[in-house]
């Protein structure tokens, strides 16, 4: 066997490497955690990388996974080797086609990064619930346990499907395998060539549809033959296990890596055996090693080929000595006798086990990537040893409701001592993970050592914390769980010490490296006392380096990752120091080489300076610090927040028992306000004397972290901090009122948008505005006190606020606050405005995507109630069905409203004429009308309170529906233009009163910037790496075609007032409304603080024309389409070249860029001419709901 090359990569890349080489057509759609497989395939094809047949595979992005499956089906029928990559909901959308593909005995492999299916909640993390939802489709299912297997099984599945004609799902565990970086041995193109039989490919092609030898496939069959025909495939399924075995043998001969359908590991005479599949195997094997070394007779049987389930091979693989079996399933099937693997094992044993059947128990583990460790495995073996083990159990959680969980001692099985275990705490933005991935590569690819990296991210998009878990050791690393005892801990952010127990995982005697602005001589007194005590108690070796200073000196302002990486190598001893430095520089050359000499030199300088700056701290004997770690929540909070939310916020959610959590996924709103993340280093400070009270700062703030409020002057008499600033309100509507612009310093992300949009400048110093960024720390205590006072100031009577002005809207309380969206997010200001205007009577359905993540990813939510307890009620159904979901909600509300009206009629006598007629009259949309209707409903309840009739009480229970509810359907362009378009279109066609907000970032932002049909021509995005050749879909015009749909295209940074008007008009229109909202995004490649300029340019160039189409004006003699932006005054190129999404193409392929930019300019001009004509056209929309008075 020839010598083989090693690579360090993650499971997604490992699988995609093989898939790309073995396929001709690849249909993709982004979904976590499988997106990177599609991205790799697309990027490789873009770069002209060829498959083993010498062709560049065609990659196409579809509008949904259902679309991708359809393309796969078609392409397979056309005779091409075809694949796709997906997970979770995406896989579920493929099921209908999967039945077809299997029913037609079609050879293909779909690669699945297995992920939880959304039930009570969405989860992006790994388990087998998606794959298990496909076990009935007739696909063979091959489960790998490691990154190596993700690579190898991709090939094995391909060979086996071609031979067997049964399609294969190749399953790797989401995140644990798909995102784990590990050292693997690569299959070469030659390996793959000799492994795949060309004759089988020819046979596959011959089965394709061909007019030269036409056939009919996909018939409709009747009761006479369907059943028999369905049974006709049986021999093919019977043959699969034998074929896979044969293929695995061939693979072993080729590579030396031996796989079996069922792999047994452990004592040959084991009495207790665990059966499972997937990545959990690594943890079980470590436990088996530990326990068998102590003489215990235990073992594990890993299922690799789950479907078709080969009973005889399964039984052969089990030791004859086995008496007890625990079958572990990584999914949950409520109401079933047991989970799928358990039931299969039971059936297999019951039918075929010779002699007394071993006792079998079934357990669930690892749902949504829940940790699964050797110590938990030990608990399972212990349970098996009990006289009466639990028949059904869970492990890894504390189930105090059903009592199913097993107790475990987390430290029962220690980690191998000869493995370097290093944990790094960093911020997402500081490059810690990137440097650690690099370190894993350095060790994995340049030394005989083995290396593993796994990275944990929190769910925030700004100020996100990352924890890197790195292992280096002399043997392949199969520890498929997080490090529990680290020999090295690095904290890359000093301020983490105040909020987080970063030394929790440090083992006694471990090394602790801290990125510290203070030198070794000063740092000790700056530490919180808890950290000091832990350092002393655990006898840690403590080092500091001032990464920021060294980076600045090397010309790498703020980028200290290579510095910390160098210090890690110097201290950990994984490599000799000089060798490590050499390797790091090599790696830097590899990473940055293409980025030019200057970048290289700066990084080299950083490496050299790092070692000079590394200092050991001599640790005193006592913890003397006066500083204490900051409590997670300061001040009073609701009970649930204190007991549950705060625990999650502290990163201890694993410790919450089942009883702590809602049974149906229902959580309180208004929790983000308790999560004082304080991530900004600079915050905006108000200069009241310059302020013109325009409200734009609050308007643009993505986090509701800067607010304006007007309040009676006398409110200042009540406990005002000395530092609190106010000025008389300039408007005439609130005489005797003062106003304040207040920053909430702990909620601010420091994005600067408020400062950039502020129009008021000092006459003396032009750069000084009415609001200016200043370092946070000197202002923090003062602004905290000010903010606390500000929030307690009374809210205005909403009826008196001038809602037709931008500044008026900003006097209203935002009910969307402190989200975890990106600093400077372009979406959230729209949502915040929406809640300011209608939040107290609003229901929101939210398509999956960025907005559902910053809106609904635990631990907290920015959606909040007001002081009366009213506020947006929010729910997320799916990605694809959001419009329909919102429509359903509307229908329920309408029904209940109508029912209430009927009951009001019934009780007219009791309620009195005036109240009855008031309640039955249509409700206006003004604040006064809302208030009045609420008072009428309160009066209704009062009058019916003591009426004993059941129907009266029924009316009381639903009377609130007489206050018209406002339904808002929110989502991104991926939803509205692509996956949810069919539903959106249908909802628009119904004429029902829903308001649809499309937060249009022009890419799939949440999954990392893949092109959607909203992506403009000439923009570079994932899946459009060569620049999108086709123009953006004009969603507004499509919706307008109905005639009775209110449509507006807005850009809040370019024309705030037009946005405000559009939101109000949309809400007041009692038919469908569609708001297409320009949302700048980090995926545009812009300096987010300048986003307002980008929005203005987008409008000024005509790239994003502003318009409103109001069907209420669609009558004879009227022109319902109104173009709100002026004729383009700038060229598209002027806007485009300031954004990396366009600029990248000009750099990579200037000729293509020129061509596409010219076309894009032509698009703009043509569209403008069209819109201009539309603006002059009369239009009638018969049957439109309302006529404007």
């Amino acid at each position: 066997m020839m010598s083989r090359s090693f690579a360090t990569l993650d499971g997604n890349e490992a699988a995609a490497l093989v898939a790309h080489q073995l396929n001709e057509v690849i249909a993709i759609y982004p979904i976590t955690p499988a997106s990177p497989m599609g991205e790799f395939a697309d990027a490789w094809s873009q770069a002209g990388r060829r498959n083993i047949f010498g062709d560049v595979p065609q990659v196409i992005e579809m509008q949904s996974e259902a679309g991708a499956a359809g393309v796969c089906h078609g392409s397979l029928q056309g005779g091409a080797l075809t694949t796709t990559f997906t997970a979770s909901q995406g896989l579920l959308l493929m099921i209908p086609n999967m039945y077809k593909i299997a029913g037609e005995l079609t050879a293909t492999v779909f690669h699945i990064a297995c992920r939880a299916v959304a039930t009570h909640a969405l989860s992006i993390f790994g388990d087998h619930s998606d794959a298990m939802a496909c076990r009935q489709t007739g696909w063979a299912m091959l489960f790998g346990s490691s990154v190596q297997e993700a690579h190898d099984f991709a090939a094995i599945a391909q060979a086996a499907t071609l031979q067997s004609r049964v399609p294969f799902l190749h399953c790797l565990d989401g995140f644990r395998t798909s995102h784990e970086v590990n050292k693997i041995e690569l299959l070469s193109a030659d390996d793959l060539r000799s492994f795949i039989d060309p004759a089988l490919i020819r046979a596959h092609r011959e089965r394709g549809l061909n007019p030269d030898r036409p056939v009919l496939r996909g018939t409709a069959q009747n009761p006479d033959v369907f059943f028999q025909a369905r049974e006709a495939c049986n021999p093919y399924y019977e043959a699969v296990p034998g074929i896979v075995r044969e293929v695995m043998q061939k693979f072993a001969a080729l590579t030396g890596r031996r796989y079996r359908l069922f792999e047994y590991y452990g004592a040959p005479d084991a009495e207790r055996v665990i059966v499972l599949m997937g990545s959990g195997l690594g943890a079980v094997q470590e436990a088996v090693d530990f326990l068998t070394a102590k003489g215990e007779r235990v073992g594990v049987l890993a299922v690799k080929l789950f479907r078709p389930f080969d009973v005889s091979t399964f039984l052969e693989a089990l030791p004859r000595t086995v008496r007890r079996i625990a079958v572990l399933d990584r999914c949950k099937e409520p109401g079933a006798l047991g989970e799928p693997l358990f039931l299969d094992v039971m059936a297999a044993l019951a039918e075929h086990w010779p002699g007394e059947i071993p006792r079998v128990i079934g357990g669930r583990y690892g749902l949504s990537s829940k940790e699964f460790t050797p110590s938990m495995v030990a608990a399972i073996y212990r349970e098996l040893a009990k006289e009466q083990p639990k028949k059904r159990f869970t492990v890894g959680i504390i189930d105090d409701v059903s009592g199913l969980s097993l107790d475990w001692d987390p430290d029962e099985i220690p980690e191998p001592a000869d493995v370097c275990r290093a944990v790094f705490y960093g911020l997402g933005s500081d490059g810690t993970v990137g440097a650690n991935k690099n370190s894993v590569k350095i060790i994995g690819e340049n030394t005989p050592l083995f290396a593993q990296g796994y990275f944990v991210y929190d769910s925030k998009k700004s100020g996100a914390m990352t924890v890197s878990h790195l292992r280096f050791g002399p043997r392949p690393i199969r520890s498929t769980y997080l490090i529990r005892r680290a020999s090295f801990v690095a904290c890359h952010q000093f301020h983490f010490l105040d909020r987080l127990d970063v030394l929790e995982l440090a083992e006694p005697g471990a090394t602790f490296l801290l990125n510290s602005p203070y030198p070794a001589s000063e740092v000790w007194d700056r530490l919180p006392v808890e950290i000091q005590q832990t350092i002393i108690d655990k006898r840690l070796k403590f080092y500091v380096v001032d990464g920021y200073r060294v980076a600045a000196e090397a010309g790498l302002e703020g980028r200290f990752n290579t510095i910390m990486q160098t210090c890690f190598f110097a201290l950990s001893g994984v490599l000799p120091r000089e060798e490590a430095v050499r390797q790091i520089k090599e790696a830097i050359k590899k990473t940055y080489g293409k980025r030019g000499q200057a970048v290289l030199e700066k990084n080299f300088a950083a490496v050299d300076r790092a070692l000079e700056a590394l200092q050991e701290v001599s640790v005193p004997g006592n913890a003397t610090s006066k500083r204490r770690r900051v409590p997670i929540i300061s001040g009073p909070a609701p009970d649930f927040v204190e007991k549950v939310t705060a625990v999650m916020m502290a990163g201890k959610g694993d410790l919450l028992p089942v009883s702590a959590l809602p049974v149906d996924g229902t959580f309180p709103t208004g929790t983000a306000r308790f999560e004082k993340r304080s991530i900004a280093t600079e915050i905006p400070i108000w200069d009241a004397d310059l302020c013109i009270q325009c409200g734009l700062c609050a308007f643009i703030c993505p986090h509701a972290a800067i607010r304006t409020k007007a309040y009676p002057a006398e409110a200042l008499n009540n406990g005002k901090p000395d530092s609190f600033v106010s000025r008389p309100w300039r408007g005439s509507e609130f005489p005797g009122h003062h106003m304040t612009v207040q920053v909430l310093p702990d909620d601010c992300t420091g994005c600067r948008l408020c400062v950039e949009i502020c129009p008021a400048r000092s006459k003396e110093v032009v750069k000084h505005k009415a609001i200016n960024m200043e370092p946070k720390d000197p202002h923090l205590a003062r602004e905290r006190a000010n903010a606390e006072f500000f929030l307690k100031l009374p809210e205005l009577d909403r009826r008196a606020v001038k809602l037709e002005t931008v500044k008026g809207t900003q006097l209203l309380e935002p009910l969307f606050e402190a989200s975890g969206a990106c600093a400077g997010c372009g979406e959230t200001p729209y949502l915040k405005l929406m809640t300011q205007l209608f939040g107290d009577r609003m229901l929101v359905t939210n398509a999956t995507g960025c907005s559902s993540i910053y809106g609904g990813n635990l631990p907290t939510t920015p959606w909040s109630p007001n002081a009366e307890g009213r506020g947006p009620a929010w729910s997320n159904s799916l990605f694809e069905d959001n419009a329909e979901f919102g429509l359903g909600l509307r229908m329920a509300l309408d029904h209940l409203e109508e029912r209430a009206r009927q009951f009001v009629k019934r009780y007219a006598t009791l309620l009195g004429d005036s109240l009855t007629s008031a309640l039955l009259a249509p409700m206006g949309s003004s604040e006064a009308a809302v208030r009045e209707r609420r008072q009428q409903v309160a009066e209704l309840k009062r009058r019916l309170r003591d009426v004993p009739e059941a129907e009266a009480q029924t009316l009381v229970a639903i009377a609130d529906h007489l206050v018209r509810r406002s339904v808002w359907i929110v989502g991104g362009d991926g939803w509205a233009y692509d996956i949810g378009f069919g539903g959106l279109d249908h909802v628009l066609s119904t004429g029902r009163d829903v308001n649809i907000v499309v937060l249009d970032t022009e890419v799939y932002s949440n999954t990392g910037g893949q092109a959607s049909k909203a992506t403009p021509r000439a923009a570079v995005a994932k899946f459009a790496a060569g620049g999108k050749a086709i123009g953006k879909k004009d969603l507004g015009m499509i919706a307008m075609a109905y005639g009775n749909v209110y449509v507006a295209q807005v850009a809040l940074g370019a024309n705030p007032l037009q946005t405000v008007k559009a939101f109000q008009e949309a809400e007041s229109y009692h038919g469908p409304s569609l708001l297409i909202c320009y949302s700048h995004c980090i995926a545009h490649g812009i300096d987010m603080s300048k986003a307002v300029d980008h929005q203005k340019d987008a409008v000024a160039t005509g790239y994003w024309p502003l318009f409103r189409y109001d069907p209420r004006h669609a009558h004879s003699g009227e022109r319902p389409f109104r173009l709100d932006s002026g004729k383009p005054t700038k060229k598209f190129r002027d806007y485009a070249m300031k954004e990396a999404r366009f600029g990248m193409l000009a750099g990579a392929n200037p000729a293509q860029a020129d061509r596409l930019l010219e076309l894009a300019q032509a698009d703009i001009e043509a569209r403008w001419r069209y819109y201009e004509q539309l603006a002059g056209l009369e239009r009638q929309a018969p049957g439109t709901l309302e006529v404007v008075a």
Partner: protein, 335 residues
């Protein structure tokens, strides 16, 4: 009209004195082709800006890490980045391409930022086949503690460093703001410059009264700007033995002729080509030839410097710095 327009510039034999200076016109292959066809004598390619290269490199490095590895669903936001814009490779390929397109000498232009960058890129440009190199040097001194001597020394060190690295002819393009331009020019020569190009037109920022922002305002030159190089070429021609070229404000045949009379070996044009098209070169050449023929000049060399300070009847005219009346002598030399 058979006047001989050939001239020697930087040791290069040029068929006439018209050189297309670094700018948009010398950027595009098709325009280069056209320039060659209409009779330009040499082209200076747009500058390789070290600062720009560094900036792009840094931006791309930043962009690759932008938002990367911080959110589990989006480990990055862009497809793999490829960017050749402003990269040295791109520039070098442009030099090579220009060499293929035009038959006349190709002069590359370099604007460095660091000493290492100047030297590195100068060497690469020579290797790419440029016939000469124009160093586009300027430091805008804004620090009150930095002396003019220090600034000048920086220029000199740089020219010496590049000179040590390359063997092709070296021109240095400078600005007019030196206390003693002749002395400085002489020292540039001594440091290794084969020729000097007068002058660099600095970007002069403007203020936008609507936005109260400083606005970068690039304007095209006009003939009035010619006077500054005209004076200095006339003065320096008389005292220095190196190639001199004028740039800025050359729009008409008359402009060219004046500069040649003052002593320029070559005259660089750009703004007029942008305004009137590359074909204007032909008109310029015809105008020059016609003027010379009408006055019976045989060759450019004959005319070159015939009105430099040393050769002109009124040398003091080039020295007059203010609008005082010309000094009238009431007595001549007594013999």
């Amino acid at each position: 009209m058979s006047v001989d327009l050939t001239t020697n510039y930087l040791g290069l034999r040029l068929k006439n004195p018209l050189v297309a200076s670094a700018g948009p016109v010398t950027e595009h292959p098709e325009l280069l082709h056209e320039l060659d066809a209409v009779g330009i004598a040499a082209v200076v390619l747009p500058s390789l800006w070290e600062e720009q290269i560094e900036h792009y490199d840094w931006q791309l490095a930043q962009l690759e890490e932008y938002g990367a590895n911080s959110f589990p669903e989006a480990l990055n936001y862009f497809p793999p980045l490829v960017d050749r814009r402003g990269s040295p490779d791109d520039y070098l390929s442009r030099v090579m391409l220009a060499k293929q397109i035009v038959k006349v000498p190709v002069i590359a232009s370099l604007n460095g930022r660091t000493r290492g960058g100047w030297v590195r890129y100068a060497r690469m440009i020579q290797e790419a086949g440029a016939d000469a190199l124009e160093l586009n040097v300027y430091f805008l001194a804004t620090d009150p503690n930095q002396t003019s001597a220090e600034v000048e020394q920086q220029y000199l060190d740089l020219v010496a460093a590049v000179r040590a690295e390359v063997t092709i002819p070296l021109a240095v393009k400078i600005g007019p703001f030196f206390s003693s331009l002749p002395n400085f020019a002489k020292r540039l020569m001594e440091a290794g410059a084969d020729g000097l190009v007068f002058f660099n037109r600095f970007l002069q920022p403007d203020i936008d009264l609507n936005t109260l922002a400083v606005a970068a305002h690039a304007t095209l030159s006009d003939s009035r700007e010619l006077r500054l190089p005209l004076r200095w070429i006339a003065i320096l021609r008389s005292v220095l033995r190196c190639s001199l070229a004028a740039t800025s404000g050359v729009h008409t045949p008359a402009d060219v002729i004046k500069l040649i009379l003052a002593g320029a070996d070559a005259v660089q044009v750009m703004s007029v080509l942008m305004q009137r098209g590359v074909g204007h070169v032909r008109e310029l050449l015809e105008g020059i030839s016609r003027w010379m023929a009408e006055r019976d000049y045989e060759s450019l060399e004959q005319m070159k410097g015939s009105l430099c300070q040393a050769n002109c009847p009124d040398p003091a005219a080039f020295e007059r710095a203010n609008y005082m009346k010309a000094l009238v002598n009431y007595a001549g030399i007594q013999v």
